[in-house]
Amino acid sequence: MGCQSSHPSAIPELDEIMLETGFSQASVVRLYDRFQALDKEQKGYLSKYDLQGIGELAVNPLGDRIINAFFKEGEDLTDFRSFIRVLAHFRPVEEGKSNETGRPEPMNSRLRKLQFAFQLYDQDSDGKISRDEMLQVLRLMVGIQVTDEQLVCIAERTIQEADQDGDGAISFEEFATSVEKLNVEQRMSLRLLK
C-alpha cells in the first residue's frame, strides 16, 4: 500500500471536519492516510470487514463492539467523516479551557467520552444497561475460568452498586456517577490525536 502522505486539499470537507472534531490539520491528514490504508480496495468507504482486518482487534475483548461503534445502526459502511467523528472522542482534553456556554459540547469532552463508552455497553440503545447487557460485557472481559454463577454474582453486584433509582438497570446518569472518580479524560485519550 503506497503510503504517500495525502495533500490536505485531497481531503473532502477538511475545514468542517476540523471545526467539528477539533483536530489539527496534521492529525486529520494523518487519519485520512490511515483511513485510506485501511480501505484496501480504495472504495472510499470502510466496511466492517476492513476493520476486522486489524489483527490486534481480534485479541481485544471489546474489539468487535468497538468496530460496530463506527457504523451506524444497520449500516455496514462508514465514510471518512463518520470515521473521524468517532475518533474525535479520543482527542486529549485541552487543559485550562473552560466550558464556554453557548457552544456545543466538544466531541472530546468527558461527557462525550462517557457517552461513547455507554453506547458500547448498551447494545439495544434503550438508554439503560440492563442486567443482560452487563452480563454480556462481563463475559467478554473476563477469563474463562470464571463460571457463570460467579459472573451473575458479579453483574448483580455491579448493578447494585451503581443503581440509584432501583430499577435494576443502569442509566447513563448512574453510569456517569459511578465513574466520576476515574480520570476519564486521561484514560480515554490518545496522545497521538491532537
Binding site: L38, K40, Q52, V137, M141, I144, C153
Partner: protein
C-alpha cells in the same frame, strides 16, 4: 562464592524489589575484596579490561540485541540516535571542560593534568552504561517508549565513547601541542567510520547467521552453537578492525533474531534463549562483583575531594540539561511527546557502569599521569550511580506517578469500567494506526517479505508464516470460519463449545446459593495471594456477613480474572527471566471467542437460525492481485456433525482459474463499494445495495449470475451445486494444508506483529 551469591540473590526477590541487584553485588564484591585484603594484604583479582571487553561484555550485549523489541527500537531510532550521539558528546565535552575550568581555578590543587586529559576523562565517564541501565530498569517498570530510549541510547553510545576515547587518547599520546585541526577532523570522520563500520559488520554477520540457520535442518544439534559463535565472531571482527564492537554485536542480534527464530527448530530456540540468558546473567553478576572487589585495592586510591565531588555534580547536572534540551527539540518532531516524568527518568536513569571502569583501567599511566585519580573517581562515580541512583529511582518513579492518583480502594464499577476504558483505548489506538503507516517501514516490510525472507528463511517457515499472517493480519470471516471449523474438528476449541457463552441471554438469574459463595471464597483465597494486595485490604475490612463475602468474592474475582489491556502485560525485556507469553493464554481465549462470535454473527446474518446443511456459499477472494497465493478458502459451509467431508473446497477450482477479477467477497449483507471492472458487476452491486435485507437465495442468485460471466467453469459448477445435491467432497489436500497449521497458529498477533514488521 559467586555461585552462592547468584543463587541467593535470585531467590530473594523481596530484597531485589527495593535494592537493585547490581548494588547488592557490588557490596558483596567489596565485602569479599575486603576479606581477601585483610587476610593477605594483597589486592585480589581486579577486573582487567581484557577480560571485561572480550568475555564479559559480549554476552550481555548479544542478549540485549537478540531480545530487542525491534519494532519499538526502530520506531524510535531517531530519538535514540540523538540522545546517544549528541547527548554523549555534550556530556563528554561539558564535563571535561568544566573540570578543566575548575582545575584552572586551583581548587583541585596541584595535578599533572592538561585539558586533553580532562577531555579524555570526560569522554569515558559520560557514557551511559547498558549493563547498569538494564539492571536497574528491570525493577522499575516504565513505559515501553521510555525504556527503549534509555536502553537504546546506552547501547548505541558505545560508538561515540569508543571514538572519543581513542581520539583523545591518541591526542594525549601525541602531546597537547601537536594536535592540529586536521587531527580533529580526522577524529570526526573516524566517528562515522567506526559507527557505520561496526553496524555494517554486525549486519553482515547477521546475514551470514540467518543464511546458515536456513540450512541447518539436518544438523539441529549444533544450531545453537552457530548462533553464539557467529555472533561472537562479529564482535571480534569489529574489534580487530578497530570498529565499534558493541554496535556490531548489537546489530547482529537485532537483525538476525527474526530469521533465526523462524528457522531453527523449537528445541534449539529454547536452548539459545536459555543459554543467552544464562551467559548474560552470569556475566552481569561477575562484572558487578568484580567492580566491588577491584575497588579494594589501596594502590590505586588517590583522593581528591574537589575532583570527585565536582565530577559527580557535573555529570548529573549536565545530563539533566542535555536531556531537557534534546527533549524540547525532539518534541517538535515526535508524535508521542516525552513528558516531564519521562525526562526525569531519563536524566536520573543515566547510570555509569563497568564500561567506564574498564576504559579507565585501560589508560596508560605514562601518558596519563593522573591515572590513579581517574580510576578512583570512576569507581566512586560508578558506585554512586549504581547504588544510590539505582536504589532511589524506583521510589522516585512511583512517587511521581502516584502523585496524582488517590489512595482509595476502587469500587467494583470503577474497576470494571476502568478496565473497559483501557481496552477501548487500545482498540482505538489500533484502529487509528498508532504507530502510523510509515513509508519506510512499509517499504522495508515489502522488501523483507519479497526478497530477504525468501533468501534467509526456511521454506517451511515461510509457508507457515504466510498462513499465520493470513489468519492474523488480514482476518476476515472466511478465515474465521475455516479457523474455527478446523479447530473444532481437531478439538482444540472444544472448550468454547462447552462454555455457555452462546446462551448468555438465557442465564437464570436466581440468586446464588450461599454455600457456593462460601466455597468459592475459600478456594479463591487459596489461590495466588500476591496479585490481590488491594483485595486483601478489602478482605480484612469486611468479613462478617455473607453479603460482604459476596462483595469480596466479586472484587477478588474481578481483580484476578479481568483481562488485561495490552500495555500492561508487555514486559519488554528481562535479564533474568524469559518472558513466556503467559498472556498468550489470554490472547488465545479472546481470539477464539472473537472468531467464534464473528462466525456466529455471520451465521445469523447469512443463514438465519436454521442451518441448512446443504447450502454452499461461494466465497471468492477479492484480493487476487494482492495475495501471493490464495490459500485454501473453504466455502462457507458450516460444519455441523461431520466437518471433514462437509468441508468442500470449491475454492480450489475457483483459484485455478487464471483471470481472477476482483470480485467482491460474498458478504451480501455487507454492501460494499468497489472499483468495479465490469458493468455486470456494478449492476449486481446496485441490486445488492438496494436490498437492505436481501433474501438469501435471491442474493446468491444475483451474485452467482454476475460471476457466471467471469468464471464460466466455476460458475457452472456453482450453479449445479445450487440444485442442492451434495458435491463430492473435494480433495483433502487443501484441507491438509489447513490441518497443517502449525501449533504456532496460536501465537497471538502481538508477537507476530513484532516478527513481521521488523523495521
Amino acid at each position: 562464592s559467586l555461585i552462592l551469591s547468584l543463587l541467593f540473590f535470585h531467590l530473594s526477590h523481596k530484597v531485589t524489589r527495593v535494592v537493585p541487584e547490581s548494588a547488592l553485588l557490588i557490596v558483596l564484591g567489596l565485602f569479599l575484596g575486603g576479606i581477601v585484603w585483610a587476610a593477605d594484604h594483597i589486592a585480589s583479582f581486579t577486573l582487567t579490561p581484557n577480560v571485561f571487553f572480550f568475555y564479559l561484555l559480549p554476552p550481555i550485549v548479544l542478549d540485549a540485541g537478540y531480545f530487542m523489541p525491534n519494532k519499538l527500537f526502530f520506531g524510535n531510532l531517531g530519538t535514540i540516535l540523538l540522545y546517544a550521539v549528541i547527548g554523549t558528546v555534550w556530556n563528554a565535552a561539558t564535563t571535561g571542560m568544566s573540570l578543566y575550568g575548575v582545575y584552572l581555578s586551583g581548587i583541585m590543587g596541584q595535578l599533572d593534568i592538561g585539558l586533553l586529559d580532562f577531555l579524555l576523562f570526560g569522554s569515558l565517564i559520560a557514557a551511559v552504561d547498558p549493563v547498569a541501565v538494564l539492571a536497574v530498569f528491570e525493577e522499575v517498570h516504565v513505559n515501553e517508549v521510555l525504556f527503549i530510549i534509555v536502553f537504546g541510547e546506552s547501547l548505541l553510545n558505545d560508538a561515540v565513547t569508543v571514538v572519543l576515547y581513542n581520539v583523545f587518547d591518541s591526542f594525549v599520546a601525541m602531546g597537547a601541542d601537536n594536535v592540529t585541526g586536521v587531527d580533529c577532523v580526522k577524529g570526526i570522520v573516524s566517528f562515522f567510520v567506526v559507527s557505520l563500520g561496526g553496524t555494517f559488520v554486525g549486519i553482515v554477520f547477521a546475514f551470514l547467521l540467518s543464511l546458515v540457520t536456513r540450512f541447518t535442518k539436518h544438523v539441529r544439534i549444533i544450531e545453537p552453537g552457530f548462533v553464539f559463535v557467529i555472533s561472537y565472531l562479529s564482535y571480534l571482527t569489529a574489534e580487530m578492525l578497530s570498529l565499534s564492537a558493541i554496535l556490531a554485536i548489537t546489530f547482529c542480534g537485532v537483525c538476525c533474531q527474526k530469521y533465526v527464530k523462524a528457522n531453527i527448530c523449537d528445541q534449539s530456540s529454547t536452548t539459545v534463549r536459555y543459554t543467552m540468558k544464562m551467559l548474560a546473567s552470569g556475566s552481569e553478576t561477575i562484572i558487578f562483583m568484580f567492580l566491588g572487589i577491584s575497588a579494594v585495592n589501596p594502590d590505586i586510591w588517590t583522593w581528591n575531594t574537589a575532583f570527585i565531588l565536582l565530577t559527580l555534580v557535573f555529570i548529573s547536572v549536565y545530563r539533566v540539561i542535555g536531556v531537557v534540551i534534546q527533549t524540547w527539540v525532539l518534541n517538535h518532531y515526535r508524535v508521542v511527546q516525552l513528558e516531564i516524568i519521562d525526562q526525569v527518568v531519563m536524566s536520573y536513569g543515566g547510570l555509569r557502569g563497568a564500561v567506564a571502569f574498564a576504559l579507565v583501567a585501560l589508560l596508560d599511566e605514562k601518558k596519563v599521569k593522573e591515572k590513579n585519580l581517574f580510576v578512583s573517581t570512576t569507581i566512586i562515580v560508578v558506585f554512586f550511580t549504581v547504588i544510590f541512583q539505582g536504589l532511589t529511582i524506583k521510589p522516585l518513579v512511583q512517587w511521581l506517578k502516584v502523585k496524582k492518583s488517590e489512595h482509595r480502594e476502587p469500587k467494583l464499577n470503577e474497576k470494571l469500567h476502568g478496565r473497559a476504558f483501557d481496552h477501548i483505548l487500545s482498540a482505538v489506538e489500533d484502529i487509528s494506526g498508532q504507530i502510523g503507516h510509515n513509508y519506510l517501514r512499509d517499504k522495508w516490510s515489502n522488501f523483507d517479505r519479497k526478497i530477504l525472507s525468501k533468501v534467509l528463511m526456511r521454506r517451511s517457515a515461510q509457508k507457515s508464516r504466510d498462513q499465520i499472517l493470513n489468519i492474523f493480519h488480514e482476518l476476515n470471516l472466511k478465515d474465521a470460519i475455516s479457523y474455527v471449523a478446523e479447530g473444532e474438528r481437531r478439538g482444540s476449541l472444544a472448550f468454547i463449545r462447552s462454555s455457555s457463552t452462546d446462551n448468555m441471554v438465557n442465564v437464570d438469574f436466581s440468586t446464588p446459593r450461599p454455600s457456593t459463595v462460601e466455597a468459592s471464597v475459600s478456594c479463591l483465597l487459596r489461590e495466588k495471594a500476591s496479585s490481590v494486595c488491594l483485595d486483601m485490604q478489602a478482605l480484612e475490612q469486611r468479613r462478617k456477613s455473607i453479603r460482604d463475602t459476596e462483595d469480596t468474592v466479586t472484587h477478588h474475582t474481578l481483580q484476578q480474572y479481568l483481562y488485561k489491556p495490552r500495555q500492561e502485560h508487555i514486559h519488554l525485556y528481562s535479564r533474568h527471566e524469559i518472558i513466556q507469553n503467559e498472556d498468550e493464554k489470554q490472547d488465545k481465549e479472546i481470539f477464539h471467542r472473537t472468531m467464534r462470535k464473528r462466525l456466529e454473527s455471520f451465521k445469523s446474518t447469512k443463514l438465519g437460525i436454521n442451518q441448512p446443511k446443504k447450502l454452499n456459499k461461494s466465497h471468492k477472494r477479492d484480493r487476487g492481485q494482492k495475495r501471493r497465493n490464495s490459500n485454501a478458502i473453504p466455502n462457507g459451509k458450516i460444519p455441523s456433525e461431520n466437518p471433514a467431508p462437509d468441508f468442500t473446497l470449491k475454492e480450489k477450482e475457483v483459484s485455478d482459474t487464471n483471470n481472477k477479477p476482483p470480485v467482491n467477497s460474498g458478504y451480501c449483507s455487507e454492501t460494499s463499494y468497489e472499483p468495479v471492472n465490469s458493468q455486470d458487476n456494478s449492476v449486481d452491486m446496485q441490486e445488492r445495495l438496494e436490498e437492505s435485507n436481501p433474501k438469501e437465495n435471491q442474493e446468491k442468485k444475483t451474485l452467482l449470475n454476475a460471476q457466471a460471466h467471469y468464471r464460466s467453469a466455476a460458475a457452472r459448477r456453482v450453479q449445479s451445486r445450487r440444485s442442492f445435491h451434495r458435491p463430492k467432497p473435494l480433495q483433502l489436500p487443501k484441507l491438509q494444508k489447513l490441518a497443517s497449521f502449525p501449533s504456532s497458529c496460536h501465537i497471538p498477533p502481538h508477537s507476530l506483529e513484532q516478527e513481521e514488521t521488523q523495521l
